[in-house]
Symmetry: C2
Subunit: 362 residues, 2 copies
């Protein structure tokens, strides 16, 4: 059963009931869920995403090493249940403050640091098999979208094609959004808001019949989920436009394969069919951009090595060729280097040409 | 004459023509504009904003120390003129790449680093007395807005009250936006997107008849200008909701008084009437939030000292009292600490109460 078909409140209830049975029968209350350490993160070559292996962990109440985490897990479960009951959402930081208090007649706090409540929430995702968003706990909000799509959200009908120069501000939680009409052939996701504004001003999405989406830097969960939903529900291909550097590759990697820390969420967040549109090493040559190379520093080389060693890039000849060329260049390159060719070069030539020829990395 | 009434293309033309006259008359081509160093930044006690003093600087072509900067200034003027002619906008990074090239028969680049083109653009703001945005050069895009306002932008009519959970994504340049209808009594500007989502979900702007605006962290130029326009054109009071820490105070300070690096732009960006809504030292006591104190570190103390020494805070007894209390507490406090009182405590009690009693810092 997919996470989206689960009923979070019901899952939380049965989680609680199971513990009550343990107590009633005089057993040590026990929570069991997948082990969430690197040793249990596997790259599934079939689905081409990161996921968790078979290893399980137990958390018991009568165990000095487990007791505090046990309590924290129950505390965030309680908070999530309250949120669901009153139909409100909270941020990770909010949940931390909601959980943070001193246990009476002791000097022990339920949580001292947000890391603790964050981890408990991730555990709760595994225990209930519901995403944080379904548990009404939101991630950060960031990013904009424009294109020929009409949605319904919180009782409003919103046309992404009619929102002026700003576009729609993507919320942290997109689970409840309903797509009413989607007229587009593909999606370009870019890491930079400034590039988004470039394409938006050039009416790129209108001319090319596509959607344009951006966050700033690393992609938020809200945007990853939005892109995944548009892919799953409308089969829109997703092209990633990022800098030719380790950071750009990593943004692509997370979007496509999932991330190590959220391996248990890959099914809801990863988009195995996403393609890397650019900037590539070949672009540097074909579009005569070498003069805008930025010299690699030590930190760039070590990042590159790290990424080249990822399982999913290791056996990919095309990507290894890119990494090799970057090393030979001794340089990285930014999307905005295309501006040196003219203000609208990216919209008029670079993107249409690359997409038409399907010069994409997998 | 206000910057908004200037015609940027005309200003650029007369800038160029003046230099042509210099050349025709055999004079050393000279640019003259206000000195933009700290020694010429003054706090105007009348307008209560930062501004530039009387000192002027000259940049001449036949001067080894000036020649390169002279050329860079003309180069960005040319780029801006092109942008205005073709009615396109570019980001600071774009302008850098547009300017970056090697002068033929030499090994000298017009610009080597973005800092150079950024500085030249700021100089151009002074030379033409037009803002960067009027020169079609955009800052970063960030942030969201919701409330009972209808605008026209790029041919679209947009109702900020009907944009679902996301809100309108604020563009980097808001000069061309036209307000069609503004129904609100005040604006709350908050530094955190998560708090914005809290208030939005609680329909705070609807219940309280206000607008809610956020960026993430430091306020972008686009948002500062949007707030200023709403204040100037509709006399909407602006209340700032930030953390009780040096960073939160600084966000408020920049919004209200202007910033040192953009002192020449205060007239377009500063909002002297803005008020600080919270979190204050008194809130910590009145709302029983002391248990959520975060201990000040060395960096917090030095930031606090810096801010307490600003001219505009120095003579303000209320603010000095806040700074003193922070030192006594030895602690800072986050907005989200209010969540410990209940999910909607901030919307139901804290904000309505503070605003009703007008418990605001000036």
């Amino acid at each position: 059963m997919k996470k989206q078909e689960k009923k979070p409140a019901k899952e939380l209830e049965s989680f609680g009931k199971k513990l009550v049975v343990d107590i009633d029968k005089g057993r040590n209350p026990t929570i069991e869920f997948s082990l969430r350490t690197l040793s249990n993160v596997v790259y599934d070559t079939k689905t081409k995403t990161l996921g968790l292996g078979e290893k399980q962990q137990q958390r018991t109440f009568f165990n000095v090493g487990h007791a505090k985490k046990f309590m924290q897990t129950l505390e965030v479960a309680k908070i999530s249940k309250t949120l669901l009951d009153v139909q409100k959402h909270a941020s990770l930081r909010d949940v931390f403050y909601m959980a943070k208090r001193t246990i009476s007649q002791s000097n022990i706090n339920i949580v001292d640091d947000q890391v603790e409540s964050d981890k408990a929430i991730e555990d709760l995702e595994l225990i209930t098999d519901c995403s944080r968003e379904q548990l009404n706990i939101n991630a950060n909000k960031m990013g904009s979208v424009a294109g020929n799509v009409v949605i319904e959200d919180s009782g409003d009908t919103i046309n992404w094609a009619r929102l002026g120069s700003g576009g729609w501000s993507i919320p942290s939680n997109v689970e409840e959004i309903e797509f009413k009409s989607v007229k587009a052939k593909y999606i370009i996701y870019m890491e930079k808001q400034a590039v988004w504004e470039r394409l938006h001003e050039d009416k790129f999405w209108e001319k090319q019949n596509c959607l344009i989406v951006t966050s700033q830097g690393q992609t938020t969960r809200g945007i990853r989920r939005l892109l995944q939903r548009l892919y799953e529900e409308y089969k829109l291909p997703i092209y990633v436009l990022a800098d030719f550097d380790g950071w750009g590759f990593y943004i692509y990697s997370v979007l496509k394969f999932g991330s190590i820390s959220l391996a248990h969420m890959s099914e809801e967040l990863a988009i195995p069919s996403a393609k890397f549109l650019g900037i590539t090493a070949d672009d540097a040559i074909n579009y005569d951009l070498k003069k805008h190379f930025i010299k690699l520093k030590d930190v760039d080389y070590s990042r590159l090595k790290q990424i080249a060693d990822y399982d999913w890039f290791k056996k990919n000849k095309e990507w290894q060729r890119q990494f090799k060329m970057m090393k030979e260049f001794g340089a990285k390159l930014e999307i905005q280097a295309l501006s040196s060719k003219g203000i609208t070069f990216i919209s008029d030539k670079y993107l249409p040409e690359k997409i038409k020829k399907q010069e994409l990395l997998d």
